[in-house]
């Protein structure tokens, strides 16, 4: 076994090992814990860069051990998985910084950071899963590692939210399991390959449609597709870094990534379109987009509003994939990254408001821009991105989605996008107006003193960094090295030449 074989495992261990060590650390070992956390995060990025260069030059990274008879546990790094790993790794670093600042002096930090690392491990594993079985392993692992984070606060509300979370996600896992076993019994393989392995199996399309339904419902729970989205707003009781991670990187994205994998590497997009499953999926995604935006419109709780916004935005990815055209694929995949950066910024900012001023509701945000201009600036950039306005990355996603839809003649998608943008504007712009232009109250609900500064540095820098990325990648979209560039590299492989 060469170094290249072990590189995916190392990538996994760079968060797994720190996580396990952190569990053992006493509560007061702050410095060591921080070092471990950040060290792991940085190491992961270094390894990742190494692998990205390798993959770009055609190196194959694969680690394989047998698990179930006839099936292996496979970690395989291709361009698509590295994109997702990249998103996780970078945002993990940002969130770690943020969480260190956010949880300063709060109890149970060892537990928190331990599970936090495990959660990222599961995400990275999920990204690198080389077959559906491995994907399933990490999909369930993700459920399990995020549960303690959701109930971290230990209140009755948190317990109930955790219960709902599990009820949905475990159900999803089971559906995915059923679909996977069924598929395996039909085709005898589960390996992800470009353009899918199902097409060669020669199975009855009616059966395949059922399998597709099971698999998509399974991952759709985490991707918060329409009837299965209710856990997400409830999971908002978790601390802000967790929400940020859940929404931007880990859970929701795992679902969306699953949709991508199933459509491209299991069924193959052309085949999926030929058995007529992509159009219903696209319609479902579109319905989710509109419905969740409508729900978001009337939420006063900031985090809940953002949660519904996530439900809506994540379905862009599904939509892009389900439109089944190369350009729409770029739009969907790139939105995976873009939405991550935008949404994590929003959640960081919401956390800052809550932590610094005790502001949790939109109606309490009057004039907050004057008290916390930098945070609000970051929030503004991300919110404009959500609406899809240039020069943010949201525009780039929307552009490719719209273009892709028109390219294959699905004109209705453009109306969905327009409606969603309109609704996004309707629920984000009032926040921006009240934050910047309304008169601030005489006293904030629960103000904490940061020595005359706006807030702690560790709370401020992560959202600024992610907001800056949102802006720069949006403005210089055609620059080499952006997520868009990498996604175009991926999309070229997923379509038959």
């Amino acid at each position: 076994m060469s170094f290249n074989t072990w590189l995916p495992v190392l990538l996994l261990c760079s968060s797994l090992v720190p996580g396990l060590i952190i569990f053992m650390l006493p509560e007061r070992a702050t410095a060591l814990r921080t070092t471990l956390n950040l060290g792991g995060a940085v190491l992961k990025i270094v390894l990742l860069v190494l692998m990205m260069i390798g993959v770009f030059h055609g190196v194959d990274y694969e680690f394989r051990v047998p698990l179930v008879p006839g099936l292996d546990f496979v970690l395989h790094a291709d361009a698509l998985s590295l994109m997702f790993v990249n998103l996780s790794a970078v945002l993990w670093l940002a969130t770690t910084f943020y969480a260190i600042g956010y949880l300063e002096n709060s109890p149970n930090r060892s537990r928190f950071f331990g599970y936090f690392s495990l959660c990222v491990t599961a995400t990275v594993g999920l990204a690198m899963a080389g077959n559906l079985l491995t994907f399933l392993v990490f999909y369930e692992a993700l459920t399990l590692t995020t549960y303690p984070l959701v109930v971290h606060r230990g209140t009755e509300v948190a317990r109930k939210a955790g219960r709902t979370y599990l009820a949905y996600t475990l159900l999803g896992g089971v559906l995915l399991l059923t679909g996977t076993v069924w598929l395996y019994s039909l085709t005898g393989t589960l390996e992800f390959i470009d353009r899918g392995f199902v097409a060669q199996a020669g199975v009855d399309p009616a059966v395949l449609r059922m399998v597709f339904l099971l698999l998509i419902l399974g991952v759709g729970v985490k991707a918060a597709l329409l009837p299965l989205h209710a856990w997400l707003p409830q999971a908002m009781v978790a601390p802000a870094p967790v929400s940020a991670l859940l929404h931007a990187v880990a859970v929701v994205k795992a679902g969306a990534f699953g949709v991508v994998r199933i459509i491209y590497d299991v069924f193959g997009i052309e085949f999926a379109a030929s058995i007529g499953v992509t159009l219903p999926l696209a319609i479902l995604a579109a319905a989710t987009i509109i419905y969740a935006s409508l729900r978001a419109l009337f939420q006063d709780d900031l985090k809940r509003r953002l949660a519904f916004s996530t439900v809506s935005q994540v379905s862009y990815i599904t939509l892009g994939v389900a439109i089944a055209g190369p350009i729409a694929t770029i739009g969907g995949l790139v939105h995976l990254v873009h939405q991550g950066f935008m949404k994590i910024t929003l959640f960081f900012c919401a956390g800052n408001y809550a932590e610094t001023l005790g502001v949790h509701k939109v109606s309490e945000m009057a004039g907050i821009g004057r008290r916390m201009p930098w945070t609000t600036a970051a929030f503004t950039v991300a919110a404009l991105g959500m609406i899809g306005l240039p020069p943010t990355v949201g525009f780039v996603s929307k552009w490719y989605l719209g273009l892709g839809a028109l390219e294959v003649g699905q004109h209705w998608v453009v109306f969905v996008l327009a409606g969603s943008s309109l609704l996004n504007a309707a629920y984000f712009l009032p926040i921006l107006r009240t934050a910047w232009f309304d008169a601030p109250p005489a006293e904030w609900p629960e103000e904490r003193d940061y020595g005359g500064k706006e807030t702690a540095w560790l709370l401020l820098l992560p959202p600024l960094a992610t907001a800056a990325a949102t802006l720069v990648w949006g403005l210089l979209a055609s620059m080499p090295g952006t997520p868009l560039d990498w996604v175009q590299f991926i999309a070229a492989r997923k379509y038959a030449p």
């Binding site: 047998p66 698990l67 008879p69 392993v137 896992g173 059923t178 019994s185």
Partner: protein
């Protein structure tokens, strides 16, 4: 040296070591804990060596006193036996390590526990290596009696009541089995399994004894609707005892059933369907009851009822996919032993710490004993069949068997059962994370107890990766 090691009668030793350990522990009550621990480790080593031998050379047989089968006692170890031996060894060592610390503050119990437990172990090892139906009966009876005594160990009212019920059930089951054995001997003139499998020809003379034996074994296994004795006995015993009962003892009678089944390989779909249906009913009933329990140990005990049901799902699936179904079932049994052992040990730690095991009042146990809770959670993961645990591999194989032959009903049972399992496991975890409104006294729990449970639970989870090495052992054993 190595030749001598290889030539030693390891199969015999696997039985004699715990037996003599039990004697010594009985005779030296002051040092019983030390003796017991030593004997456990040695026994485990012996079992391991047997397993290695079988893995290397295939089926092993050992004749006691050198007489051939019809006259003397023959010990037989094949893949299935050694897997069970290994399971017993792993759980046994963990329980021994745990029990030494757990029972440290009640010397009178220590005195009685170790001889009984080692005796039980000897009976188990003998059962797994027994080659004829009568020896199986004897070992089954020995095992049952020592298990009953172990339940009575805790001395509390419910425990004695539970032990009494367990005793009666155990006797009834053994009786039924004995009737079957007697009828078999009458019909075929031998009890050696290998010979029986050659001579058995079906018809009434086989059907009646087999029916009696199956019923007796089901009663002893605690399959629905014979599970009624199981929760009181397992729920009221001391934690290490519960771990042994749930993890190992019920598996022994299941093993016996498998042996008989593989020996006679009855034709027809009727009995498998009957067993499978009872298994499905057990899964649902056990899970529903587990969900309704207020006490942690009872919840875990009912979970055993449910999980035992899974083992029987293999019967109806085995007709078309024998290899997949049986390996899945055996693998589930293995992982259940480890997971349930870990779960009971963790429950024991939680009970020691808080002085109670009310689920609603777990009151942030996670903060005080994270390791124990992690053990509980990991064990729960394996039980629920979440990847990559041993339970997952077992359920995967069962599911695959069901799906390949299009048996949607069984697939649905397996899946819904897994969901129900997850539900009751996470019900406990949810309360463990939540603050309770009441105050509770707290006791310190030795780290050994916490770690033992955790290691065992980790073993259950990592067992998933052991499948490629463990399952080939079963080749040739399965019909």
């Amino acid at each position: 040296m190595s030749e001598w090691l290889a030539g030693a009668p390891w199969m015999m030793l696997a039985i004699m070591l715990p037996l003599s350990g039990a004697l010594v522990a009985f005779l030296l009550p002051r040092h019983s804990a030390l003796v017991g621990l030593g004997a456990s480790l040695l026994t485990a080593c012996a079992a391991l060596v047997v397993m290695l031998q079988v893995a290397a050379d295939g089926r092993q047989a050992y004749r006691l006193g050198g007489w051939p089968a019809p006259l003397g006692i023959e010990l037989v170890a094949d893949g299935l036996s050694v897997l069970m031996l290994a399971m017993t060894a792993v759980v046994g060592v963990a329980v021994s390590v745990y029990a030494r610390v757990y029972l440290a503050d009640s010397p009178d119990k220590v005195r009685r526990f170790w001889p009984l437990w080692l005796f039980l172990w000897a009976a188990l090892n003998a059962l797994f290596q027994a080659g004829d139906a009568f020896n199986l009966y004897v070992t089954l009876e020995l095992m049952g009696l020592s298990a009953v005594a172990l339940v009575a160990l805790s001395g509390s009212g419910p425990a004695l009541w539970g032990a009494m019920r367990y005793l009666l059930v155990s006797l009834l089951g053994s009786l039924s089995y004995l009737v079957g054995v007697a009828l078999l001997y009458h019909a075929y003139g031998t009890l050696d399994l290998a010979l029986l499998s050659e001579r058995a020809d079906g018809g009434l003379q086989l059907a009646v004894p087999l029916g009696a034996m199956i019923a007796g074994l089901l009663l002893k296994t605690g399959l629905f609707p014979f599970h009624v004795w199981l929760p009181p006995a397992h729920g009221s015993a001391r934690a290490p005892v519960s771990a042994l009962l749930s993890g190992l003892v019920v598996k022994a009678s299941f093993y016996l059933l498998l042996r008989l089944w593989f020996t006679f390989t009855p034709e027809g779909q009727g009995v498998p369907l009957l067993l499978g249906s009872l298994g499905a009913a057990a899964i649902f009933w056990g899970s529903i009851q587990a969900l309704r329990q207020k006490r942690l140990k009872l919840l875990v005990a009912y979970s055993t009822v449910a999980q035992l049901g899974y083992l029987f799902i293999a019967f109806p699936l085995a007709e078309l996919e024998p290899a997949l179904a049986w390996s899945g079932s055996v693998y589930l049994a293995l992982s259940h032993a480890m997971a349930k052992g870990a779960m009971f040990l963790a429950a024991g730690s939680i009970m020691t710490q808080g002085g109670h095991d009310e689920i609603d009042e777990l009151d942030r146990v996670v903060e005080r004993m994270p390791l124990t809770l992690a053990a509980f959670a990991l064990a729960g993961i394996s039980l629920a069949g979440l990847p990559p645990s041993g339970g997952f591999v077992g359920k995967w194989m069962l599911l695959q068997a069901a799906m390949t032959q299009g048996s949607w009903f069984w697939a649905l049972v397996i899946i819904v059962g897994g969901l129900l399992t997850a539900t009751y496991v996470f019900r406990v975890l949810g309360f463990a994370f939540t603050k309770s409104p009441h105050e509770h006294e707290r006791h310190d729990v030795p780290a050994t107890m916490e770690w033992t449970a955790l290691v065992l639970a980790l073993g259950a989870v990592l067992l998933g990766f052991a499948a490629p090495w463990a399952l080939p052992l079963l080749e040739g054993v399965l019909p």
